[in-house]
Symmetry: C2
Subunit: 171 residues, 2 copies
DNA sequence: GACAGATAGTAAGGCGCCTAATTATCGTTT
DNA sequence: AAACGATAATTAGGCGCCTTACTATCTGTC
């Protein structure tokens, strides 16, 4: 399994760095490449339902909540902006998976509800998705899982901590 | 360091699965979250030069080649389509970092060359980028690095390859 | 009761990526 | 020389995401 050409060019341009730092770069590229592979796999799986990952997530959240949710709430849960949710809902509504209901008590606000068709689709796609994701790393040994479960959160924590707190403030 | 809410909802909806598979899911989410953090960090670094990651990469490739390249070649190296390269070059050309030169021997083809300004920008941005990426994982122990360097390529190899011609091996 | 400020949702426009179609050119074949 | 298919780049249009307005509505205070 070979890294993308772009990563190899980046690496070869840093052949003068200490071994240690080159390993760090390689590691970084491995993680990025792995995440992209996972995303591509997921997109392919969901593509058979004509769903993007983002749309799948909205349907999933609505299904889990088991009641209508407001776009604002969906945006918070999904980790995207309200504007993005508007666009995704446009598509889901067009495809008849979701309905917008005006809210009587606060007329700025809208309730998003699954249609029967939406409920069917998310039930099927959810099953496929769950099986796929749960099986992804099923072949790892316990020791390997432990190693990764220990290291990955540490790595993530060392990056700019912006992801946690600042997002809340920025909106 | 806590995972995004969307991941927690996905996890809590799978609380009935065997521990082993839940760990797999958590691992998957950790990797995705880490890759996104890295991307966000990188984008922030390059943003100070008004460069996206994709544009940075094109400039970098041109600088490394040390001679004009054709869009086709850039697309191959960068791992995107030629159409995407066209769009990126439009922006780079608009910003005066790059020039399109018609090729006399084959007039279908175009040579993409860095401008002096482009050369300056990529020199600065490249230095920053290199330092940043090399320092990312500098705090890991040798054992940890070894562990990751062993596991990550294996994980990646088990996913459906990008060429996407088979599904039989994955299950 | 009116008005300032917060809040909900949307619109507009940009970016990076894609696929499919188009235009121009090249090489080969007949 | 004409015609064909291959190739280079671009265009057109779509998607998902963003930020930055904007509209409508609500709410608390004077």
């Amino acid at each position: 399994m070979v890294l993308d050409e772009k990563y190899q060019v980046l690496l070869s341009a840093s052949a003068d760095l200490p071994e240690r730092e080159q390993d760090g770069m390689r590691l970084c590229f491995e993680i990025l490449a792995l995440a992209r592979s996972i995303d591509a796999d997921c997109a392919a799986k969901l593509g058979t339902f004509s769903l993007s990952e983002a749309k799948f997530l909205l349907l999933f959240l609505l299904d889990q909540a088991d009641k209508p949710l407001k776009p604002h709430r969906l945006a918070t849960l999904a980790g995207v902006t309200r504007a993005t949710v508007t666009g995704l809902l446009d598509g889901l509504e067009r495809d008849g998976l979701v309905e917008r209901h005006v809210n009587d008590t606060d007329r700025r606000s809208v309730d998003i509800a699954l249609t029967p068709k939406g409920r069917t689709v998310i039930a099927e796609a959810g099953t496929v998705h769950r099986r796929w994701i749960a099986s992804l790393f099923g072949h790892l040994s316990t020791a390997d899982v432990d190693c990764l479960m220990r290291l990955l959160p540490v790595l993530r924590a060392r990056l700019s901590p912006r992801s946690g707190e600042f997002d809340a403030l920025s909106q």
